[in-house]
């Protein structure tokens, strides 16, 4: 469908800006692997210190890039399936807030005023503006969602008899879950941390802030993942030459994510005081349950691919795999999707280890954890983002993709890079190698007293993977920006490959009504978090504490002493 000028510009901004920042995010990722392998034994390179770089890597790649993509991909799916543009106020305001928030955060991170990582754990302090910037980005994404609700309501009135398209359901599920889950972090950022960081309050209940963060922090990973799932269910069967094996299964998987995404955040806190053992065991069960929609997706998407492979002449148990359209420049999206799915097999399985209650002690905060999540967020999530970003850019801008061969091979190089990186990180993690640590200064530096030779092979393996990922990213950037800066050759339009369902299935009423699922989601969240909150107040106390990353001096005390001195009569 053809689109208005302002809508086109909004979508293109939403693709171009995060991709530009991703250069910085990816650069800092590669640099970390060099520090960790002991190749760099310094605090900083080119004015960016390790932890500042890590903060950029996390905030840009995991929050900025993913949120922009979810919103832009949401715009494109809504408009493609409902054949309407969202109201102008919604997409304009949404994009302005998101861009403003991102600029604030980026400037602060570059200046070093925000380097408490993307988890921004108190009592480490960022500039108050950082919390504001992050909140603007999140609120901006809500406003896009409000616009879609309006479009959908209008569409529903005109199409009473039609089913809600699966991609629309997926997008609505994703943003409903996102909206529920980002309330706690908005409260944490704006009500607790911003006034505390600005100096208006002194005490902070650290366990409370951590609980609120992870109430958001885990649903966040599903917020990254669901756009990829939408692509696997509604685009991949088409481009691979098959059909979607079961539409009802796809709907059920999305709705299960709606109820189970939010209450599982406590599984990031198995090694902490304050949460009781009962809560932790309960959340282990819930996290197992949330893996079921992923197992279902593996089956349904796998079956859809098998259909495609057999249609192309594949025979036998595994023959269909070879017949899938690998390495075809006319069909480059398939490479991104398949590479992502292969990584996700291992990403998902390693996630079950983390979810397993006391087994988490073996891996908590070691290299295992980034090893795991690079096979999810840097696997299917990022590969779908890269593939779909260049696809959407070329369609919406009406430009021909430059260097199509490069675009075609990038996902395979990336996949090998992630596999090596994750293998190195996970192997090191099982030997106690800590995550989020500039190992090159001490643990992998032979000059240091803390040197640990066991971690050299694993960090070296991770570095080789990191460099390969860097090469793939560089190649992708060449093609993406050459495409973006080239001349228009076609009429700008919104168009997505649309998969058909294999069978016409009987519609199940429960799968077409989101309301009971939203209620179940809220109830389950309350069942989990009311006891957690009671535990927080039972076992912990707020403490006066405010720290910069570079000094062990408590700024609360300095401030109090100063006030005391000021008040002294001469």
């Amino acid at each position: 469908m053809t689109i208005s000028d302002s809508y086109r510009k909004t979508i293109l901004t939403g693709l171009f800006m995060p991709m530009t920042l991703f250069i910085l995010g990816a650069y800092n990722g590669v640099m970390q692997t060099l520090y960790r392998a002991g190749v760099i034994n310094q605090n900083e390179v080119a004015g960016i210190n390790y932890y500042q770089g890590l903060t950029m890597h996390g905030v840009i790649n995991a929050i900025v890039l993913t949120t922009f993509f979810a919103v832009v991909f949401g715009h494109v799916t809504m408009s493609h399936y409902l054949k309407k543009e969202p109201p102008k106020w919604s997409y304009k305001i949404s994009m302005v807030l998101m861009v403003a928030g991102t600029i604030i955060d980026t400037v602060l991170m570059i200046l070093g005023k925000a380097q408490a990582l993307y988890t921004f754990y108190a009592p480490l302090k960022n500039s108050p503006l950082f919390y504001l910037g992050t909140s603007l980005l999140i609120v901006g994404s809500w406003i896009a969602f409000f616009g879609w609700i309006q479009v959908y309501t209008a569409w529903r009135k005109e199409n009473r008899e039609r089913k809600m398209p699966i991609a629309v359901l997926g997008t609505f599920v994703n943003f409903t879950m996102w909206f529920i889950a980002s309330i706690p972090v908005a409260y944490e950022s704006l009500v607790i941390l911003l006034p505390w960081s600005a100096g208006w309050t002194n005490d902070v209940n650290v366990p409370l802030t951590r609980m609120l963060f992870w109430m958001f922090g885990h649903p966040l990973v599903y917020f990254w993942l669901l756009p990829a799932y939408i692509a696997f269910y509604t685009i991949l069967p088409k481009v691979s030459g098959g059909k979607l094996y079961s539409g009802n299964a796809a709907r059920l998987a999305f709705l299960l994510f709606l109820i189970l995404s939010t209450p599982v955040g406590v599984h990031h806190q198995f090694s902490e005081p304050v949460m009781g053992q009962g809560t932790k065991l309960w959340v282990s069960i819930l996290t197992y349950a949330v893996s079921i929609p992923s197992f279902m997706t593996a089956f349904t998407v796998g079956a859809s691919l098998e259909l495609a492979g057999r249609k192309r002449g594949g025979k036998g148990l595994f023959g269909w795999m070879g017949k899938l359209p690998w390495f075809q420049s006319g069909n480059y999206l398939v490479g991104y999707f398949l590479s992502g799915l292969l990584l996700f097999i291992f990403g998902g399985l390693s996630g079950i280890v983390n979810a397993s209650y006391a087994l988490n002690q073996m891996v908590h905060n070691t290299g295992w954890v980034p090893g795991h999540f690079h096979m999810t967020v840097a696997g299917p999530v990022l590969l779908v983002i890269l593939g779909m970003s260049i696809y959407m850019y070329s369609k919406v801008a009406g430009k021909r993709i430059r260097f199509l061969t490069i675009v075609t091979i990038v996902p395979y190089i990336w996949m090998i890079g992630v596999a090596l990186l994750s293998h190195g990180l996970m192997a090191g993690g099982l030997m106690g190698e800590p995550r989020r640590t500039n190992l090159g200064m001490t643990y992998t530096n032979p000059q240091s007293d803390l040197f640990n030779s066991h971690w050299i092979p694993s960090t070296s393996m991770a570095m080789i993977g990191g460099i390969l990922m860097g090469v793939a990213a560089l190649l992708y950037f060449i093609s993406f920006f050459a495409t973006a800066l080239s001349k228009k050759t076609a009429v700008p339009q919104i168009e997505l490959p649309e998969a058909e369902e294999l069978h016409e299935e009987r519609p199940v009423r429960l799968l077409h009504n989101m309301r009971p699922w939203i209620i179940a989601s809220v109830v389950l969240t309350l069942i989990t978090y009311v006891p957690s909150l009671q535990n927080v107040f039972k076992y912990s106390k707020p403490v006066p504490g405010k720290f910069s990353t570079d000094s062990p001096v408590n700024e609360t005390n300095i401030h109090n002493n100063k006030t005391a001195a000021d008040e002294k009569p001469d």
Binding site: L54, L117, Y245, P273, Y288, M296, F299, R435, S540, P552
Partner: protein
């Protein structure tokens, strides 16, 4: 959804049920558990190594930027140690290599875990949570050797 779809769901649920049984078995039969909660009390802000009897220690550790207090803990081989962990400033990590001890040190809260040291040797304690510019220097030791 057809019968294969249903079978796939049942099969994956069964796999998870087996995993969950393994968790329960380790929890109840082998006593492998996550850290315990202790109500916060400022008295825990004092580091100490107390030998309560022949084979039993209580160790009160304070994590702070960028060291553990005490930095070196000496215990007898074969002893059981209760670690009580808190933080004097920001959030820290406390991971003792080759053991199941892996905890967070959170200001305003107390973490507790019990572990037995059977083998002689030095066990490194690594801070694995980002705690500021000196994070990578923050290491302690448990030395398992005869104390008298």
């Amino acid at each position: 959804m057809n019968k294969y779809e249903i079978k796939a769901i049942i099969l994956s649920s069964a796999v998870l049920a087996i995993f969950f049984f393994a968790i329960l078995y380790n929890l109840f039969a082998r006593k492998i558990d996550v850290p315990a909660c202790i109500p916060y009390d400022a008295a825990f802000q004092q580091s100490a190594v107390k030998k309560t009897d022949d084979k039993h220690y209580e160790v009160y550790v304070i994590a702070k930027m960028w060291t553990f207090d005490p930095a070196e803990i000496v215990v007898d081989p074969g002893s059981t140690v209760d670690f009580y962990l808190s933080s004097a400033d920001v959030v820290h990590g406390f991971d003792i290599e080759n053991t199941s001890v892996n905890m967070m040190a959170v200001p305003g809260a107390i973490n507790k875990v019990t572990v037995q040291f059977n083998d002689y040797g030095t066990y490194r304690i690594v801070c694995h949570e980002y705690c500021g510019a000196g994070h990578h220097n923050m290491m302690g030791k448990v030395m398992v050797m005869p104390t008298n």
